[in-house]
Amino acid sequence: MFDIPLILLFEGLTNGAIYALMALGIVVLYSVTGVINVAQGEFVMLSALSVASLLAGQVPGTVYLVVAGLVLWAVYDVIARLRAGQPLRALVAAVVPLAVAAATYLVVVLAAGANLPYLALILLAVALTTLLGPICYRVIIQPLPRASVLVFLIMTIGLHLALTGLGLAFWGPQPYTIPPFQRGGVRFGAVYLDGQDLWLFGISALLLVGLWFFFGRTLWGKALRAAAVNRLGARLSGISVVKAGSVAFTLSVFLSAVAGVLITPITKMVYDFGFMLGLKGFVGAIIGGLANPAIAVLGALFVGVAEQFSAFYISSAYKDVLVFLLIIPVLLMRSLQHLDFEEHVE
C-alpha cells in the first residue's frame, strides 16, 4: 500500500536533486556576489544540448558563445590596460583569452569529428559550458562593481533571454535526448531505479559533499565565505572580490552544467526547459532564505517531492502552479519573524 508514495518519493527526489544543484548554485552566487542569476537554468540546457550536438558529430553552438565571450573578454582587458597606461600589458592581456578561445574551438571541432567515447563527450560539454561562468562574470558583472542587487537581477534576465534565444537558434524547438551513462537498473521492492537515477543521486551527493569540503576546509572556500559575509572586510584581508566573484560564478555554472547531463537522459531537453528547472531551484533557494545552502538543498528536495505528490494526488496540470505557490507561505513566515526596521531596508 506504500508502493505509490514510495515511487513518487523517489521520482521526486530525482528531480529534487537537480533542483538542489540549481539552488546551491543560486545561493553560492548570491552570497558571494549579490547576483541573483535568473539564467541559472540556461546552463543546464547548454550543457545537455552540447552533448546532443557532439553525439551527432556536430560542433555545438555553445562553442561560438564561448569564443565570442572570450574575444569580448580580451577587448575589455585591453581597454582596461590601455586606460591604465600599460600598452605592453594590454598586449599580454589580449593573448590569454584569445589563446583559450582558439584552443577551445580547436578541441571542440576535433572532438566533434573524432568518435570519442561517450564519457569524454560528457566531460567536454560540461567543461565547455562551465567556461561560460568566468566569461559571464567578466563580461556582464565585473564591469559594474557597485551595481545594486536589482540591477544585477535585471541583467541576468537579459542573459536568460539571450541564452534562451540562442538555444533556439542553435538547436531549434525540438526536444533532444542523450543516452544514459549506463544501461540497466536496480529494483528495491516496488521502486525500480534506473541506472541513470543512481548516477544522478551519486554525483549530486558527491558534489554536495565536495562543496561542503571546499567551503569548510579549503582556503579558497573560506575566502569565498569571507567575501560572502563582508565584501569590504574580505578585500582588506587580501581576498580579491573579483576573483571570489569569478570563482562563485564558475562554480554555479558548473553545477548547472552537471545537472544538464544528469537529467537529460531521464527527461529530454528543449531550448527553454532549463529555465523552468532553474526557477524551481529558486523556490528551494528562497526556502533557504537565499543564504543557507543546507536548507536550500533540503528545500529543493522538498520541492521535487511536493511536485510529484501534488501531480499525482491533486492535479498534474497544476503541479507547477502549486510548486510556485509554495513560496508564498515561505515568504509569509519570513515576514512574520521579528525583524528590525533596518533589516528589511536594502
Binding site: 541573483i36 556582464i140 564591469p143 559594474l144 551595481a147 542587487v149 536589482l150 540591477v151 537581477l153 535585471i154 541583467m155 534576465i157 537579459g158 542573459l159 536568460h160 533571454l161 539571450a162 541564452l163 534562451t164 534565444g165 540562442l166 533556439l168 537558434a169 531549434g172 524547438p173 526557477l279 529558486f282 523556490v283 528562497i286 492535479s315 496540470a317 497544476y318 507547477d320 502552479v321 510556485f324 505557490l325 513560496i327 508564498i328 515568504l331 509569509l332 519570513r334 515576514s335 525583524l339 528590525d340 526596521f341 533596518e342 528589511h344 531596508v345 536594502e346
Partner: protein
C-alpha cells in the same frame, strides 16, 4: 560678487530659462499635436501600433513608479494585466456585467491580489518582491492555461471560442476599431501621466522617492515605509490591470500569454530602455520596444533561416548593454542635455505650517532604562540608562564603536532593544516603528548621510515635514495640495536659510560638498519642528566658521525650547554646548554629569581622552 556681475548672471539665467521653457514646451506641444493628428491621418497599422504603445505605456508607467522611484522590482506586471483582462472578459461575457464596470472589477480584483502579495513580501528585502511576483506570474498563467471551464485554457477566451465578449459602448456607440480606441487608450495614458506627475511632486511622492535612497531617513520623518511601498505597488498593479481591461475590449479575444513571464520581462525591457526614473521614459520605452520588435521579427528569422522569436536574443543583449553603458535610460539622458526648466518660485507669504506648542515644564523628556541590544555575539549597547532633561543639550560621547549610533538607532526605532525601556515625552517607545516615534516630535540627522541625491535641497528638506503635514495620496495625485505645498516650500527655504544653505535652494543635493550636506541634514530635521533633536556628528567635515555657526544654531534652538541630544567627536563643539555629558565605552555607560566634572573623571580620561599627563 559685485553688482554688475550678479546682474549679468541673473540675465543669463533668465535667458536659459526662456530657452528651456520654449524647448520643453515645444516638445510637449509636438507630442500633443502628434496625438491629435494620429487618429485623423494614420493608417490602420500605425494606429494599431500606437494603441499597443499606449497600453504597454500604462503598464510601464506603473513599473517606472515602482522600480525607478520606489526601488522595488516586479517581474510579474503582466500577471496583473492578465487578471485585469480575464476578470473583465469573464464577468462581461458570462455574467452580463456592463463592460465598463467589468474593467473596474478587474482592477479591483488585481488590487486585492497585489495587496496579498505585498503583504507577504514588502517587509522583506527588495528582491523578494521581484522573485514573488515572478512566481505569481507563473501561478496566474498556470491557472489561466488549465482552468479550461472558466478561462478557455490555451486556446484563449473570446468570440472565436464561443464566449462572446460584448464591446464597450459609449452613448450607444460601440467602441470598435483602433481609430476610436486610440482616443480611449491615449486618454487613459494622458490621465495617468497627469496623475503620476502630480503624485511625484507631492508629499506622498517625496516619500516614494525616498524608498530607494533612504528608507530609514524617510521613516525617521514619519513615513510609514511599508504603507508607502504598498501604495506604490498597488498603483503599479492598478495601472497594469487598467491596461489589461483595455486590451480585452480592443481585441475581444484574450490568451494566457498576456499574463506570462515573457510579457512581464517585455515591460521591464521597455522601462529600462526608456529610463526607469522618468515617466516620459515609460512611453518612449514602450514606443521603441514596439517598433524594434516589429523590425526584428521581420529580419531575424530570415537571418537564422527558421521562424521563431529570435528577437529575445537582441532584447537580452540590449537589456545588458543599456544597464552597463546607459543605465539611466534614454529619456533621462536626453533630459540632461536640455536646459533645466526654471524652478517654481517659492511664495514667501504662504501660510505657515502649524507649529508645536513649546512645553518648558521641568522633567525628563527622554529616558532610557537598562537598554541592551546585541548583534550575534556582540553587545553593542549594554544596560544603558540615562535621561535627557527637557530644554537641555546632552552630549553622548565615546570612542569609535562605543555604541553611540546604536543608541540613536534604538531611540529612533530603527532598531528595537533586546531588553530595557525607552520613554519619550511620557510614552513608551521601545518597540514602536520609527515613523510613529517621529510623529511624537523626534527628529534626527544621520552620521552616514541619508539624503536623496537626485532631489533638490528644497525637496530634501520638505521630506522633514512629512509628519506635520496631511495631504494624502488622492489629494496629491489630483493636485489639491497646493496650499499646503506652498507652506512647506516656504518653510523649507526658511530652514535652509537658518543653516546657511539658501543660496540656491533648487540645486540638487549631490551638488553640495560634504560639510554642507550635513547642514542639509540639520535643516531637514528642523523642518520636522522637533521637540527632541538628535544630531549624529553634525560637525564632521565642517570648517571652523561653519562650526561656530552650528554652535550658534544649536544654542538658538535651545532658546526656542528644543531639546538636543548630540553625538559628536569634536570636543570643542561638545564642551561648549552641552549641559550634561554621557560617556559610553564598549556599549556601557562610563560616566554622566556636567562636562566640567566628567572631564576630570579618571575612568573617562583613561578610556577616552587618553591618560592625563600629571
Amino acid at each position: 560678487m559685485n553688482a554688475p556681475d550678479g546682474r549679468r548672471a541673473a540675465a543669463s539665467r533668465t535667458r536659459a530659462d526662456t530657452v528651456a521653457v520654449w524647448l520643453r514646451g515645444g516638445l510637449l506641444v509636438i507630442f500633443l499635436a502628434v496625438l491629435v493628428a494620429l487618429p485623423l491621418t494614420a493608417g490602420a497599422f500605425e494606429l494599431r501600433l500606437a494603441n499597443l504603445v499606449g497600453m504597454y505605456g500604462l503598464v510601464v508607467l506603473g513599473l517606472v513608479l515602482l522600480t525607478g522611484y520606489g526601488g522595488l522590482a516586479s517581474l510579474g506586471q503582466a500577471a496583473f494585466v492578465g487578471s485585469g483582462a480575464y476578470t473583465a472578459a469573464i464577468l462581461a461575457s458570462r455574467f452580463g456585467l456592463n463592460p465598463w464596470l467589468s474593467i473596474v472589477a478587474g482592477v479591483l480584483l488585481s488590487l486585492v491580489l497585489a495587496w496579498l502579495i505585498g503583504l507577504v513580501t514588502l517587509r522583506l528585502k527588495g528582491h523578494y518582491l521581484a522573485l514573488a511576483t515572478l512566481a505569481w506570474g507563473l501561478v496566474i498563467t498556470g491557472v489561466l492555461r488549465n482552468w479550461m471551464g472558466v478561462t478557455g485554457g490555451n486556446t484563449g477566451f473570446g468570440s472565436a471560442t464561443g464566449n462572446r465578449i460584448p464591446p464597450l459602448t459609449f452613448l450607444g456607440e460601440e467602441l470598435r476599431g483602433d481609430r476610436v480606441y486610440f482616443i480611449l487608450v491615449w486618454g487613459c495614458v494622458l490621465l495617468a501621466l497627469w496623475l503620476l506627475s502630480n503624485l511625484l511632486r507631492s508629499r506622498t511622492g517625496r516619500a516614494i522617492k525616498s524608498l530607494r535612497t533612504g528608507a530609514i531617513a524617510a521613516a525617521s520623518f514619519g513615513v510609514d515605509v511599508q504603507r508607502t511601498k504598498m501604495i506604490t505597488f498597488l498603483i503599479a498593479a492598478g495601472l497594469a490591470a487598467v491596461a489589461g481591461g483595455l486590451h480585452t475590449y480592443r481585441e475581444l479575444f484574450i490568451v494566457p500569454g498576456l499574463a506570462g513571464l515573457n510579457a512581464s520581462i517585455d515591460y521591464l525591457i521597455m522601462a529600462v530602455i526608456g529610463g526607469l526614473t522618468s515617466i516620459w521614459g515609460a512611453l518612449a520605452g514602450a514606443g521603441i520596444f514596439v517598433l524594434l520588435k516589429e523590425q526584428l521579427q521581420q529580419w531575424l528569422p530570415r537571418i537564422v533561416g527558421r521562424t521563431g522569436n529570435y528577437e529575445i536574443i537582441a532584447f537580452g543583449f540590449i537589456l545588458i548593454l543599456v544597464l552597463q553603458y546607459a543605465r539611466r535610460g534614454l529619456v533621462p539622458m536626453l533630459d540632461s542635455l536640455l536646459p533645466r526648466m526654471p524652478p517654481r518660485p517659492v511664495k514667501h507669504d504662504a501660510a505657515p505650517l502649524p507649529a508645536r506648542e513649546v512645553d518648558r515644564s521641568p522633567g525628563a523628556l527622554l529616558e532610557l532604562r537598562g537598554v541592551t541590544r546585541s548583534f550575534g555575539g556582540l553587545t553593542a549597547v549594554n544596560d544603558l540608562s540615562f535621561a535627557v532633561e527637557r530644554g537641555s543639550i546632552v552630549g553622548l560621547i565615546g570612542p569609535n564603536g562605543a555604541g553611540k549610533t546604536t543608541a540613536f538607532n534604538l531611540i529612533t526605532g530603527v532598531l528595537s532593544p533586546d531588553s530595557g525601556s525607552i520613554t519619550f515625552n511620557g510614552a513608551a517607545i521601545g518597540s514602536r516603528a520609527p515613523h510613529r516615534i517621529a510623529a511624537l516630535g523626534l527628529a534626527r540627522t544621520f552620521q552616514h548621510l541619508n539624503l536623496n541625491p537626485g532631489m533638490s535641497l528644497i525637496e530634501n528638506v520638505a521630506l522633514g515635514a512629512y509628519a506635520r503635514t496631511r495631504s494624502g495620496l488622492l489629494g496629491g495625485m489630483l493636485g489639491l495640495d497646493h496650499a499646503e505645498e506652498e507652506s512647506v516650500r516656504s518653510e523649507a527655504v526658511r530652514h535652509l536659510r537658518r543653516v546657511g544653505l539658501d543660496e540656491d535652494p533648487h540645486a540638487r543635493a549631490d551638488s553640495l560638498p560634504l560639510g554642507k550636506v550635513r547642514l542639509l541634514e540639520v535643516a531637514r530635521a528642523l523642518m520636522a519642528d522637533p521637540v527632541l533633536l538628535l544630531l549624529d556628528e553634525p560637525a564632521a567635515g565642517l570648517r571652523r566658521h561653519e562650526k561656530e555657526d552650528l554652535k550658534r544654531l544649536v544654542r538658538n534652538l535651545k532658546a526656542d525650547g528644543v531639546t538636543v541630544l548630540l553625538v559628536e567627536h569634536d570636543m570643542d563643539v561638545v564642551m561648549d554646548l552641552v549641559d550634561t555629558l554621557v560617556v559610553m565605552n564598549h556599549g556601557n555607560k562610563l560616566a554622566e554629569g556636567p562636562p566640567a566634572v566628567v572631564r576630570h573623571d579618571p575612568a573617562v580620561i583613561e578610556a577616552y581622552l587618553g591618560r592625563e599627563v600629571a
